[in-house]
């Protein structure tokens, strides 16, 4: 109807649609790649941090029956005990008991021995399964033990996310702090953010003058310096990190030079501690600070500082009041880039840091490949992602998205 009334509009729409489809066709490969390689894995990881079906698959009866447990201050009723006994026997026969034991061990102290011990002592038949189970292991008389089973019975759980923040839930559902000997991740997250901020600060202090020099040198010498800045990009990350091990180790270049100069008598510990982490990470992330700063500085005409000088500003005032404010977009972009990369850094702190200097990414890797606790690994990943997004949001509120200039 409307098309017949306004043929020009319809034609315009048709012509535009053609153009839009063509444009979409051109970006479709990239979009598909991003979807498969980026969006789907992240979504799967986020899902895994709250999705929990391990226990459900091997103990179907008790995870079902525990849904009817309402008074969480008392142990559940006979039906639940019976279901537990049946599940333990069935999973013992199917050799899937270790899966259940591992899952309960996440949440329960000595959960593994509890499960195996109960399975060993459980009678083949009993009139009262409640008594039989409790006599197999006294811990089944504690509602908290059943709370762990209830929390693990899925299919969705907040357990991993809470654990990643050093929190857990009691049987009655209250969120409490984990005992100090188990609290680990908040400290790690704090350390990660402190290291990230410190490395960002060091990169800014070291990178700002270099970027200024790059932007103000005549082109031929500027290009040479630029190649020196970019050189690290062309070297493998692993090689650069290993080089720092060589330079900073006990009898490395730095220590030998200091001893030769008579500044120190004994080698100073420069690696496998915080010093090593700061030095290596600052070096590796420095170009990510220099390049955005350079691109912003390059666009600032020298006339501004001259104008400020002619209007009566001392060189320092002209620099601080006129030049630096105009480089804020570069400082913001470089700082954000370095900080986000720093809090997600894995290989460098893993190689040059000590046991107490590991960042959150180390624990994500540990839970992914060594301990195979993917739920916790995903939850830590989700916490890291949230922290990053939160900081970006704060930054955005302070500086504004248009304040970011990358390249």
């Amino acid at each position: 109807m409307s098309e017949s009334r306004n043929p020009l509009k319809a034609r315009l729409r048709r012509a535009e649609r053609m153009r839009q489809w063509k444009a979409f066709g051109l970006i479709a490969p990239l979009l598909g790649f991003l979807l498969i390689a980026f969006v789907v894995p992240i979504a799967a990881m986020m899902l895994r941090s709250v999705h929990d079906t391990e226990l459900r698959e091997v103990w179907p009866n008790v995870t079902e029956a525990i849904g009817g447990w309402h008074d969480r201050t008392q142990v559940p009723d006979e039906a639940v005990f019976a279901a537990l006994a049946a599940d333990i026997k069935a999973s013992y026969a199917q050799k899937s008991l270790p899966t259940a034991a591992r899952r309960l061990n996440y949440d329960l102290h000595n959960g593994r021995s509890l499960v195996f011990g109960t399975a060993r002592k459980l009678p083949d038949a009993a009139e009262n399964w409640t008594e039989a189970v409790i006599s197999a292991n006294q811990r089944w008389a504690d509602p908290e033990t059943w709370g762990a089973v209830a929390r693990a019975s899925g299919p969705f759980t907040g357990y991993f996310l809470l654990a990643a923040l050093d929190r857990n839930r009691t049987a009655t559902g209250k969120i409490v702090k984990s005992p100090p000997e188990e609290a680990l991740f908040v400290g790690v997250l704090e350390r990660t953010i402190v290291v990230g901020l410190a490395v960002t600060g060091l990169c800014l202090i070291l990178g700002y003058p270099v970027a200024y020099l790059l932007a103000t040198l005549p082109p031929n010498r500027g290009n040479l310096l630029m190649i020196l800045v970019l050189l690290p990009f062309w070297t493998s990350l692993l090689v650069r990190t290993a080089a720092w091990v060589v330079v900073l180790q006990e009898h490395g270049l730095v220590n030998n030079a200091l001893i030769w100069l008579g500044i120190i008598d004994e080698p100073v510990r420069l690696i496998y501690n915080e010093v090593g982490v700061y030095v290596a990470m600052t070096h590796i992330l420095l170009p990510f600070m220099i390049l955005p700063l350079y691109s912003v500085m390059k666009a600032i005409p020298p006339g501004y500082v001259r104008a400020a000088r002619s209007l009566g500003a001392t060189p320092t005032t002209a620099f601080v009041r006129v030049y630096v404010p105009q480089t804020l977009p570069g400082i913001g972009a470089g700082g954000l880039l370095v900080f986000i990369m720093a809090i997600g850094y894995y290989i460098t702190p893993a190689l040059v840091g000590g046991a107490g200097d590991q960042l959150i990414s180390y624990f994500i890797a540990y839970y992914t490949s060594s301990s195979v606790n993917w739920g916790l690994a995903s939850a830590l990943g989700a916490v890291l992602l949230s922290a990053t997004l939160l900081l970006y949001w704060v930054y955005n509120r302070l500086v504004g998205a248009d304040g970011v200039k990358l390249g």
Binding site: G303, S310, L311, R321
Partner: protein
């Protein structure tokens, strides 16, 4: 300008023997001697690379003279850094600080001088009112048009009441109409404040319109320093004659130097003319004759004159209020005559042989081109 002290008649700025080179080989400014008077509007005019901007930058303190002395108010400023010279400056690209509001920009010179916030604000508003932009104080430079930005830059250079303001091609980025408007505005501000202005431009119309005096630069040397009228009416050499205004040239040889400042010149085609001897080496020397197109008449269309040359009309171009007639005269194929357009009178036809006539005092005998650059 008030004649309060004995030094009131001394120049405000004196360049003596200033030379400047960037690479140690070629001199950008060669032996510059220039006095800038208090309260005057002095323009440094010249083509690009003539040394005029370098001269301005040496005065502002952004370049150091290789040799020679610059005095401001009787004191050498060789060791005075730019921020202590108290010279206001307006740049071609305005150089308004993009992260500050208009008011903050104008108040910047006051801030660095330690004035209180209230004082700063009051003076900045006053300066903005002077350039008729008081309502825009809260905006950012990017929200203003080019003309408005230039006015803010002007207010900023004047707000701290400097005795000397430098302007480096401030209107270069504006379109023609706005440029002409701003020329008048700057001229009026100069007149009402009595501040000394040194203005750099390569636009001769701008220089003629605004200046009290103009220093014409070429090749690192001041070719002529004179009032606009002096420059236009009596150019001292070939460069000034051709750079300022339109100009017809004829080449010849000085036959005889006459009494009372005239000379007889034999043109390259053998004809003789009488010319004012402005800049000639003497009898027998080669010379360039320079005539303004509006000072030459076609015989029968204006008064008769002592000099009379035959030429062929090549082209007539209608310009509304006047007609330009291009002729081939005495070996110059581009000899232009400018005459008033009268609708009722017949114009010279293309191809017609006519006589051009001009007075001896309107024909200036100047220096001859060097052998190497002879056309």
């Amino acid at each position: 300008m008030t004649a309060t002290g004995p030094q009131a008649n001394d120049p405000l700025v004196r360049f003596s023997g200033v030379r400047k080179t960037y690479d140690g080989e070629t001199l950008i400014v060669k032996n510059l001697n220039l006095d800038i008077r208090r309260g005057e509007f002095l323009t440094l005019l010249g083509p690009s690379g003539s040394g005029k901007t370098t001269t301005l930058m040496m005065l502002a303190g952004f370049e150091v003279p290789t040799e020679g002395e610059i005095e401001l108010d009787g004191r050498s400023i060789r060791s005075v850094p730019p921020h202590q010279r108290g010279i206001g400056m307006v740049f071609q690209n305005y150089a308004l600080f993009p992260h500050m509001t208009i008011e903050e920009n104008v108040a910047f010179p006051l801030m660095v001088r330690g004035l209180s916030r209230a004082e700063r604000s009051a003076k900045a508003r006053e300066a903005l009112a002077m350039v008729k932009l008081e309502s825009l104080w809260r905006r950012r430079p990017a929200q203003l048009s080019g003309g408005q930005q230039q006015r803010v830059a002007l207010a900023r250079a004047l707000v701290f009441e400097p005795q000397l303001v430098l302007m480096d091609e401030p209107l270069g980025a504006l379109d023609k109409q706005l440029r002409e408007h701003m020329q008048m505005e700057i001229k009026h501000i100069h007149q009402s404040l009595g501040v000394t202005v040194v203005y750099v431009t390569h636009d001769q119309t701008e220089a003629l319109t605004m200046s009290d005096r103009i220093a014409v630069f070429n090749d690192g040397v001041i070719q002529q320093l004179d009032t606009p009228q002096g420059l236009y009416e009596v150019p001292q050499n070939r460069f000034v004659a051709s750079f300022i205004g339109e100009n017809n040239t004829l080449t010849g040889t000085v036959e005889e130097v006459l009494e009372n400042g005239f000379c007889r010149v034999q043109l390259s085609d053998g004809h003789y003319v009488t010319a004012a001897a402005v800049n000639i080496a003497g009898a027998g020397a080669a010379t360039t004759l320079s005539m303004r197109p509006e000072k030459v008449h076609i015989e029968g269309y204006g008064p008769d004159h002592v000099n009379r040359l035959m030429g062929t009309v090549k082209e007539t171009i209608y310009h509304g209020d006047h007609v330009r007639i291009r002729l081939a005269v005495a070996g110059n194929p581009d000899f232009v005559v400018k005459m008033r357009f009268r609708p009722n009178r017949p114009q010279p036809e293309v191809g017609e042989r006519v006589a051009v006539a001009f007075a001896a005092e309107d024909c200036h005998a100047l220096d001859a081109p060097a052998e190497s650059e002879a056309e």
